[in-house]
Symmetry: C2
Subunit: 439 residues, 2 copies
């Protein structure tokens, strides 16, 4: 009996993590020349392939150039996806993917026709190459003013690719992420644009390039763009209000840099995971706010995690329908089928249940504050990578737990949504309608 095609990407994903973990556990990957405990190597590989960015060892100081290159390769494979990367590699050596592989590829990319998947893949690879190249160049130009050109190129390459793929890994050293550059608009804005484009993903961007007018965009693109813009605005205003006078985060910065950092902090939960202000020093209300933003995440079909902006906005439009007394959910002049609302509901409520149970479990086994544990859980499940700083202090059991969460968080919501959408439709004809009491 042939394996179901949906299993291939999952097995490939797991295989890449395993190979990465083995490479990273070797002494040739570290600056110290000593081997890394396998669980830490596995944690790093899972975090890289799932483009999360949570780390138990400091990427900039623990790994040498080879180790960092392995991490970067895992990030790019994870960002493009296992099926896309392997198909691209086959194409590079002049071989054609089999029909079954192309079908599996189409499944992970949401295009059912095998031909369409190959065309889509070529375009995605091209867009990734162009945007990443521009980003790396811009970062290199700035870094080269601070360090030798070779090192500046490596920093540009690493952080550019890490940003566009929402990976959140940095090689700045000392678990600092972008904090040393918090007063550098060139670096932060370049990163912010890379993160935002990466968190929107190919299909909406291509739709914008093709249509050029708002009216002709698909509803999916409109939802992605409007929700992303709304989250950026709400996020920036929220962080500025809550952290403006906190001397440990924004308070010590001049006026302009507060705005810059408020903006960058509103970009990063979608789900890049870089931070230019210390997360552990943020006020509790900002942590709760960040948890909500990380849970929503970026666009479905992009490298971002979370339950996705489309899923979230469908629930918003469903509430709007209820309040305005509509029979059906209407977004941007189009009716969204009830079935999609039920699917969005399933994704969000099951994600809440998973996060809830995992956070509860970790609270029992770890001595940290409930808010830090909840933050870490949502950060892992949303493949965000922001942390209040507890990751390296977690016990081995909790590390394994988080590895499972990052894996589930990267594959779970999409796989669930695809599985739900792929179900043969069973019409409800034959059932009488009946109302119940609500509220």
């Amino acid at each position: 009996r042939p394996r179901p095609p949906a299993l291939v990407p999952v097995l490939g994903f797991a295989g890449v993590i395993l190979v990465g973990a083995i490479l990273l556990s070797l002494p040739i990957a570290t600056t110290s020349g000593r081997s890394t405990p396998f669980i830490d190597a596995l944690f790093t590989a899972t975090s890289a392939v799932s483009v999360t960015g949570l780390v138990v060892v400091d990427t900039g100081t623990h790994w040498n150039a080879f180790g960092q290159a392995v991490v970067l390769a895992l990030i790019q494979i994870g960002g493009l996806g296992f099926m896309a990367t392997s198909t691209l590699l086959l194409m590079l050596v002049g071989r054609r993917a089999t029909l079954r592989d192309r079908m599996a590829l189409g499944l992970t990319m949401g295009t059912p026709e095998p031909g369409g998947a190959m065309r889509l893949l070529r375009r995605i690879a091209l867009m990734t190459l162009i945007i990443e190249s521009v980003g790396v160049l811009l970062l290199f130009l700035r870094f080269t003013q601070e360090m030798p050109p070779g090192r500046a190129l490596w920093w540009g390459l690493f952080h550019g690719i890490s940003a566009f793929n929402q990976a959140g890994f940095d090689i700045v050293g000392g678990f600092q992420s972008m904090i040393p550059f918090q007063r550098d608009p060139w670096i932060l804005l370049t990163m912010a644009v890379l993160i935002t484009l990466g968190g929107i993903g190919y299909t909406p961007l291509a739709d914008v390039l093709r249509c050029r007018t708002w009216r002709r965009l698909t509803v999916d693109t409109k939802l992605v763009l409007s929700t992303t813009a709304a989250l950026l605005a709400v996020g920036m205003v929220g962080y500025l209000i809550m952290e403006w006078n906190n001397p440990a985060t924004l308070g010590h910065l001049p006026w302009g840099d507060r705005l810059l950092n408020g903006y960058f902090q509103s970009v990063t939960p979608r789900t890049a995971g870089f931070n230019a202000i210390p997360i552990g020093e943020m006020r509790d209300q900002s942590l709760v706010f960040t948890i909500a933003l990380m849970f929503i995440g970026g666009a479905s079909g992009s490298t971002a995690g979370g339950v996705k902006v489309q899923t979230f906005s469908l629930l918003f439009f469903a509430i709007l329908a209820a309040i305005s007394g509509r029979e059906s959910v209407v977004a941007f002049g189009r009716e969204i089928p009830p079935r999609q609302i039920y699917q969005a509901l399933a994704v969000v409520l099951l994600a809440i249940a998973v996060v809830f149970l995992v956070a509860l479990g970790l609270t029992v086994f770890e001595p940290f504050d409930a808010i830090d544990v909840a933050f870490e859980t949502v950060s892992g499940f949303g493949t965000v990578g922001l942390s209040t700083g507890i990751t390296p202090q977690l016990g081995p059991g909790s590390r394994l737990f988080l590895i499972a969460i990052m894996f589930t968080g990267r594959l779970g919501p999409l796989t669930l949504a695809l599985a739900l959408a792929a179900r043969p439709t069973r019409r409800g004809i034959g059932y009488a309608r009946e109302n119940v009491k609500i509220g």
Copy 2:
């Protein structure tokens, strides 16, 4: 321009609270003979009329017989509802309610025809009288073994009415609630049955009496009964697992009393608010579990609070529809219209938003743990009345905040649901359907 009928119950509700607060602030209402600060009297009156049960002064020792009688009257008015009580009082003195009053009554009871509302009211009053009388008698028979008959009757009356109306007020003294009776199955089981019947409400109970077979019950009744049973089972198992070895709650009790208290603790979040084990000593995971149960609450149309079991179960059936690939939500062989699912979604997500913002605000202004503040907020919003013990320590601002929350919690979800349901339907015909990416 005549006032909209929906405003009459809200104004009546507020008026009863104000009269109650004035009476309770008088020196004639306290054992000490001193007057009570108006904010504490207002808090008590709001808690009683909204059948919440959060208290800032101890009901059994602070108030004298007159004060307790005022509280009990407020509970019964709040439990029946302002419109129902005033109509009943008019009937008692031989006068007929006006058509407009009967329409407002029908609105609050969910029966549009004025004639039906009066018939329904008479039956509800009769059922309340019968169940409360049996409950009071059973409690009296037990209390009379411990205290003089007059006092035993008052205790039976107070706790019986308080239990059936989900009020959670007790006159045991020392903020103890039912803890002194934690090894008394007669008391706890009587209270549990009163709470469960009160939390189901008239319509489903009448439906059961009329139909006598499961198959012929309405979907609303089936949802109420099955969800209530499921929550009781899950709640009991959950508390037994999480508290079995906690010496401060269940751990010091013999085996049989642990089962009894696990059961009673699973009954009380629906949304009675009595407790026989100390809530503040429960483990964090039990508190989080209780928050979830309190948020769901009891049946719509009963005196219970929360978002209501029907609302919650509709979302569950929507997820089931998504997972099984149905076009429509089917519960017990009936299709639930999409519009109702969107309404349930609106009620739940708006309730989450309110609780979230209020808890955030209280966390900023109060020194207590986030979990205790979240617990108190959901307890107030769900009109539950359970507390980890922080209520009497809250500052005046937070007390006013909680007063607003109890008021909103009692009227909000139902009013919102009624307002949504009463909206003229706008069909979505004319909109093209379009799918978006989810997950």
